[in-house]
């Protein structure tokens, strides 16, 4: 019984981080219609951000987090403005535009991995922050995962407030609903797109920063998370933020249950099996509706 509770708690704590970066992916897709294959690599960027700021420059951990957040938001804005926004200028069907955007983000993904490889080298690194642990009723809770959980909840609360109660949030909802109409009513849709892209990347960067405390940092670390993010996002319904958050937790719990009850090597099999079963029953995802984007 204790083992089961332990497994579930671990699943929920990790699930928060899964939800965070998957949510970034789904926000980017829901608003800009870009499938960001570089999401995993922005997680890696966040990890190396902490390695640079905390381990090498000795900036306190809690001060490093906002720096990573802001920096990845800025990187996201630059990438969108410099590369992605140009694809909207060409005469293409929306399906073909999505395809060329996928290839561009794949290119960005390869670029980031190899730039990090060239600068930092292939050796794995670890970050010695938040190494303490809490014992609650015999269940061991690492500080790093508890802090991660707290941060993610705060971020989600802020996101919810920003979308529901601010003028800019309403502009986002309007743009998702009907881009042309929003534009006619004076919404700067280009700016909405750029900020949405930046926000998605910032969430990946922050997730990476948090993950670096209990995950080995390598230039290709993000790849595993990219696949997790895709599965979570499809399960939740592309562009559906609440659905993605829930399926992030579901995926993490399934993974940790497989890891502790089946075999540690096969923890991926559980998540893939879940994915295939869901695909058979509901191809549009657990919470997916086909026009999923307006559920923000």
């Amino acid at each position: 019984m204790r083992e089961l509770v332990d497994t579930l708690v671990t699943g929920i704590l990790i699930g928060a981080v899964f939800s965070l970066f998957s949510c970034g992916l789904t926000i980017i897709f829901g608003i800009t219609r870009v499938v960001n294959f570089a999401q995993g690599d922005f997680i890696t960027v966040g990890m190396y951000g902490i390695v640079l700021l905390y381990s090498l420059l000795h900036i306190p951990f809690y001060a490093s987090l906002p720096i990573v957040l802001v920096a990845s938001f800025a990187i996201g804005l630059i990438v969108y403005r410099a590369i992605i926004s140009r694809t909207y200028r060409f005469r293409q069907t929306s399906a073909e535009r999505e395809q060329s955007q996928m290839v561009i983000t794949l290119g960005i993904s390869i670029l980031i991995t190899n730039i990090i490889l060239a600068i930092a080298g292939p050796n794995p690194r670890s970050v010695n922050a938040l190494t303490g642990r809490v014992l609650a009723d015999g269940i061991v809770l690492p500080d790093s995962q508890l802090v991660a959980f707290g941060i993610v909840i705060v971020i989600f609360a802020l996101l919810f407030i920003a979308i529901k109660f601010t003028r800019f949030g309403r502009a986002i909802a309007a743009t998702v609903d009907d881009r042309q109409m929003a534009s006619a009513f004076g919404v700067n849709t280009e700016r909405v797109f750029a900020i949405a892209f930046g926000t998605g990347i910032a969430m990946a960067g922050l997730a990476g920063a948090i993950l670096s405390t209990y995950y080995t940092v390598t230039p290709t670390a993000g790849e595993d998370f990219l696949i997790v993010a895709f599965i979570v996002v499809i399960m939740g319904g592309l562009g559906n933020v609440p659905g993605t958050i829930i399926s992030g937790f579901v995926a993490a719990i399934v993974e940790s249950v497989t890891a502790s009850y089946v075999s540690l090597q096969l923890e991926d099999i559980g998540i893939y099996a879940l994915f295939i079963v869901i695909l058979m029953i509901r191809p549009q995802g657990l919470f997916g509706v086909h026009a999923a984007a307006d559920s923000l």
């Binding site: 909207y88 060329s100 561009i104 794949l106 993904s109 730039i115 499809i234 592309l238 893939y272 695909l279």
Partner: protein
């Protein structure tokens, strides 16, 4: 097949085109004797032809039928592993392996199609992508058959056509380019046939195609099946050439994304896009992972690879072939104006006024022409674009 070939040759410009294609293939076949320097580059270009088969197969399903799959590596891996297992466990020779590769490829394409064609667009792309990663996991897991992560190496066999094993790199080069050319011609024939036309119809207007009484699900499955056959052939050839396969180079993330990247980099609306994409990108990718690049800083090769992909698609997201054709159209029009010494002011001719097919060859020339002739008309489109922030959709 005869009707397919008849369709191919019935085209108006088919004679000049055939001559051009034969000339190009001949020129490419002679490359190792006057252009490609060391053994490395010959084998890199040979590899690019093998991946070219996969890229052309992707254009059939992704570009012409409009079902952008990111999981064609499933069929590539099935091809490679069929060859490997036929060689290692069944001892039925390479051609038996080819039969198994294509057979399993067809079965897998029908299974995957049945599940994944319930979805469209981005869902379809991501679901097929994940399917490939599931196959990678399986290949790692069933180690008794696939040797797991260690991979399978080819058992040595005497050289010769009966073992599909050649000693000289030049022979490999010629054999591969011959197969590549045959596949490309077959793909062109399919693309020009009724089947290809119907695929385009379901790409451009799936609802209308359904309303016309086309059985869309079967057509999509048919497109995936053709694509699977050719991709399995590419995988089989890859194992025969390289003599080694492991789960990540058969089904992994890199090869799963590389196939659509090649096709979309070249331009997915044309078979030529797949050919060009593979020939430009694969030697580069091979160089990045080779010992030749070992003296360079680590990662530099792939940085160049990614930069080229991003820059070309930044200039024109419709791909390299489209970019070149636009350039050619632009130069043609301007050269004519300079030679004639005037800019034309008369009304557009009937032919120029005709609706041009988007992405077709004369669209680029037509657009360059109109831009020169009717700047005002063009500004109007630009004003609409600026006001609404929307380029007109081709739906």
């Amino acid at each position: 097949m005869t009707t397919l070939l008849a369709n191919l040759t019935s085209h108006k410009q088919s004679f000049t085109k055939s001559v051009a294609i034969v000339g190009l293939v001949g020129l490419a076949a002679s490359l190792p004797w006057w252009l490609l320097p060391s053994g490395f580059w010959v084998s890199a270009v040979t590899t690019s032809y093998i991946f070219g088969i996969a890229a052309v197969a992707w254009v059939l399903i992704g570009g012409i039928a409009g079902q952008a799959t990111f999981g064609n590596s499933v069929f590539f891996g099935i091809g490679a592993y069929s060859a490997a297992i036929a060689d290692q466990h069944l001892h039925i020779g390479p051609y038996g392996g080819l039969g198994i590769a294509i057979g399993i490829g067809i079965i897998a394409s029908l299974l995957i199609g049945t599940i994944s064609f319930r979805t469209v667009g981005v869902y379809f792309a991501l679901i097929t992508f994940t399917t490939s990663l599931v196959f990678e996991l399986f290949a790692n897991y069933f180690a008794s058959l696939t040797s797991g992560a260690i991979g399978i190496s080819e058992t040595s066999a005497p050289a010769g056509l009966s073992n599909f094993n050649f000693t000289s790199a030049d022979t490999w080069y010629l054999v591969t380019i011959a197969i590549f050319a045959l596949v490309t011609i077959a793909a062109l024939a399919i693309s020009k046939s009724w089947t290809g036309t119907v695929w385009r119809a379901l790409r451009d207007a799936e609802d209308a195609a359904t309303a016309c009484g086309l059985y869309v699900r079967w057509l999509k499955n048919g497109a995936l099946l053709w694509s699977a056959v050719f991709t399995a052939l590419a995988g089989w050839l890859y194992f025969q050439f390289l003599g080694f396969i492991d789960p990540s180079s058969a089904f992994g993330l890199t090869v799963a994304t590389l196939i659509p990247v090649m096709a979309l980099f070249g331009g997915s609306r044309r078979i030529a896009g797949g050919v060009v994409g593979a020939i430009v990108l694969i030697p580069l990718e091979q160089f990045a992972g080779s010992t030749q690049a070992a003296s360079l800083p680590s990662g530099l090769g792939l940085i160049i690879f990614a930069t080229i992909v991003i820059i070309i698609l930044w200039i024109d997201p419709r791909g390299l072939v489209n970019l070149v054709l636009r350039g050619v159209g632009y130069v043609t029009v301007h050269a004519r104006q300079i030679l004639q010494g005037t800019t034309r002011t008369e009304e557009p001719t009937k032919e120029e006024n005709r609706m041009t097919v988007p992405g077709s060859k004369n669209e680029t020339i037509y657009k360059a022409n109109t831009r020169a002739k009717f700047p005002v008309e063009n500004d109007r489109a630009k004003i609409i674009e600026t006001v609404t922030g929307e380029t007109d959709e081709l739906r």
